[in-house]
Amino acid sequence: MSDPPLHRALGLTDDELERIRETIGRDPNPNELAMYGVMWSEHCSYKSSKVHLRALPTRGRHVLVGPGQDAGVVDVGDGLAVVFKMESHSHPSALEPYQGAATGVGGIVRDIVAMGARPIASLDPLMFGPLTQERNRWLFEGVVAGIGGYGNCIGVPTVGGEVKFAEPHSLNPTVNVMCVGVAPVDRLVTSDREVHEGSLLVLFGAATGRDGIGGVSVLASRTLEEGSDEQRPSVQIGDPFAEKLLIEASLELVERGLLEGLQDLGGAGITCAVSESASRAGLGVELDLDAVPLRAPDLEAFEILTSESQERMLAIVHPSRLDEVLEVCSRWGLSSPVVGRLVAGGGLRVTMGGTTVAEVPARSLADEGPEYVRPMAEPAGAAELREDDPTFATITAEPREAFLAVLSSPNVASKRWVYEQYDQLVQGGTVLGPGADAAVVRIEGTLKAIALATDGKGRFGRLDPYLGAAHAVAEAARNVATVGARPLAITNCLNFGNPERPEVMWQFAESVRGISDACRALDTPVTGGNVSFYNESGGSAIWPTPVIGMLGLLEDHRFVVRPAFRPGDLVYLLGETFPELGGSEFAEVVVGTISGRPPALDLDREGALHGLLVAAARADLLTSAHDCSEGGLAIALAESAMVAGTGFAVTVPGDLPWYASLFSESASRAVVSVAPERATGLEDLAAAHGVACAPLGETGGPRMVFDTVFEVTVEEAARAYEDAIPALLGR
């Protein structure tokens, strides 16, 4: 057996090689091939997804920067901008959970810093296989420890996210990381900044080593198969202390106005940072690899060019500012060599040891990658799966047992074991932390706060990817509105299987269509995101799981609405319940099936609910509000009771069977409570917004009383809810 040709080993197709030849007018040398290999990888070039992503709505009143830069930027008024982005680190985490997750946090934080913003919050949507399997426990514990180990050490609070469990994630855990930052609008480092010919490239931060050669870019552009563990050395190793210094030094450089540009080094390392910087400026670059500080003396050119060593940034500096830049870096103990300069023309010329080792057009690497319209086909059996709807199954379960089973299902149960390992408080702005509908973080020096929620609906997506994606947007916006914030814009991470399979590509296209429609209807444009393909092993892919990161704004954080009941209030259900158990938690846990149609979604009704929730918060009408989604009305009521230690007694409205009333996951609903004297105010406001508002009962006492169906003490429920995940971990 002969080895495959080099270009194929680097992940390039024969056609792609031909295209490179046409671009540079000759055969590429191995260094150039390595550069194209990482830059034209699926991870960096979005070659399978671009054609679909163009359909997303990306403009809006508040959007300052949409997709295409390091992160999206939204104007929140008073001269302030919020910068946010989500990304996947699933592939490295599948191989080495601690470092994979840790470096995911590091990478997304640098994306925010590269826009000139101080990171003020992180959120981590995670999905694993069932915790009954030992390997899944190892992945789960490792990922959580990695997020904490890195995030806690850099002083950015982890304020939210979600944790879900489903069999397809056994071999393919999904690790998404989101970071949010704040900056004065006039200090943002966007690609609009004027960059001069002759300006210098300063590489500051950690030295470059062999760790993570072809790391994320290559790992995340293939499926993981048997023997993938051997790729563990491709996973980068994080140094959060270096990251903390990098954050402070970068922000000081930005605050003092010393930079023309700032770029983080992530996937595809220095090749990506340099080619993107040059391409944006419409200039070329001379890059001197001899000036790059190395961890090992014998690194070869292609290794330096593609290393994904962590904790490095690239600054574009006018020569007149160089001394000041070097002084700042030195005070933070960071090396900061000049590694290149911007030159006329569009060429990227790389030298090492006095000779040219690569010379290609910068634009061809950064912006002229291939683009594919891949074939699509609906998966076989999808229609049958939808027809088999658990809503019409014969339910023999006892209501009380069913309730406790859903409450202690790992998808629903308390994630305290996870979030207590994260510093939620540092920076002193956390108004609402993990466990709430949305995290709420104050913007220092103002009354404003941002609300943040992440949502993925894998189960719904499996049954109907269009609806699953639209539900994810709707639920994320609802979560933000529930705490009283106006939903403004989204970022996302689109997690899918192998795009070369028509079924996966169809799921992807349907999901993007669902996001598009929902974001248009709810007026929450897409400011960027990340596509993570190849989340499959042995031909078995994860469910189509777009995860939505929603940003909302509270003009005054003191009007935040929390989920906790208070004794002596009245409980209302906003929105309507239909018999819709397809893809529900109840169907999976009690009926034992993941099938049927996901609940219908009427985006006008959804938007009306959000308008009502925000108006009610502004009018200070509500004691509590809580989104009614996973696990249905029963779980929403129980969660508001448990967090407060206050019970309730409700009548179950309508003439649906108990399991449909209590466990349907119909969209566009929330459970709220109000002081009796404010009940009329709420009813009137709901009528004005055209939202159904049904009285359920009242709060108080140690028990949760569900009509004549069943009752349980808050204490017993809380025990089931809190103990579920620790028990599965054997703790």
């Binding site: 420890a145 904490g148 180990g149 806690n152 050490c153 850099i154 002083g155 140094d239 959060p240 202390f241 270096a242 903390k244 210094l245 933070w332 103990g333 979030y419 207590e420 390992q421 994260y422 510093d423 939620q424 408080l425 540092v426 920076q427 002193g428 702005g429 956390t430 108004v431 104050r442 954080h557 003191r558």
Partner: protein, 235 residues
């Protein structure tokens, strides 16, 4: 005319709660003065806080490198002269490493990082954080640490107890000290200790994250207001 007490907060490389400590000092009416690890003087502050974080990454023992920072010379002198010095979390670890406080902090009993609001019982009013607080009072403050389990050798522990050097203990909301509320498995549920002179105190919980009622419990308010009056006594 009196001026607000000036409270210095040291930033080491890797300090994380330094800005939070400064903000809390200002919230309580003091003047927060940022101090830099490489400085060799305290710029005339009336009290010093060593804040939380991961100084130098804490890749060795927590606080083991920070104790050698240039700023620590004047801090040690200031402490020897009776100046109020408070170590919070990583700052507590640094004070133990520097020999200004007895005992040491090791990994939590659970071996995991823990971020949670806890109750602590004030054990003595003879510290800059508890001056004016009656022993036995229970305050709600958060912990967030991976290495906060207080230990000491048998003789040291006996001395700490006999000499009344325990400043805070983890407890139930009603003040009962029991194993269930000992969040990290500390010896005798010790959450904070003081030196013999009573001017240096360290604790794992974060009073600076419990002052603003808009954000949560306010058990840090009496502690920081005590620090301000201790500092004022020197003005």
């Amino acid at each position: 005319m009196s001026r607000p007490p000036r409270i210095g907060v040291v930033t080491f490389p890797g300090s994380l709660d330094d800005r939070d400590a400064l903000r809390a000092v200002r919230f309580m009416g003091g003047e927060g003065v940022p101090l830099w690890h490489a400085d060799r003087d305290l710029h005339g502050v009336d009290a010093v806080i060593l804040p939380g974080g991961f100084s130098y990454g804490d890749y060795l023992r927590c606080g083991a490198i920070a104790r050698f920072a240039p700023i620590m010379d004047p801090v040690v002198r200031f402490a020897a002269q009776g100046g109020p010095v408070v170590g919070i979390c990583n700052g507590f670890q640094i004070l133990c490493e520097a020999g200004l406080l007895p005992g040491a902090l090791i990994r939590n009993r659970s071996l995991r990082f823990i971020c949670r609001f806890v109750d602590v019982r004030v054990e003595t009013s003879l510290t800059p954080l508890t001056d004016g607080i009656v022993a036995g009072e229970v305050l709600r403050v958060p912990v967030k640490h991976g290495e906060g389990q207080f230990i000491a050798g048998p003789d040291d522990l006996a001395r700490v107890e006999e000499r009344g050097l325990v400043a805070f203990r983890y407890c139930a909301p009603d003040g009962t000290v029991d194993d269930a509320h000992n969040v990290n498995g500390s010896a005798n549920a010790i959450a904070g200790v003081r030196n013999e002179a009573g001017n240096v105190v360290g604790l794992m919980p974060h009073p600076e994250h419990a002052v603003d009622p808009d954000l949560g419990p306010t058990g840090g308010q009496p502690m920081l207001s005590s620090l301000l009056s201790s500092a004022l006594a020197r003005v």
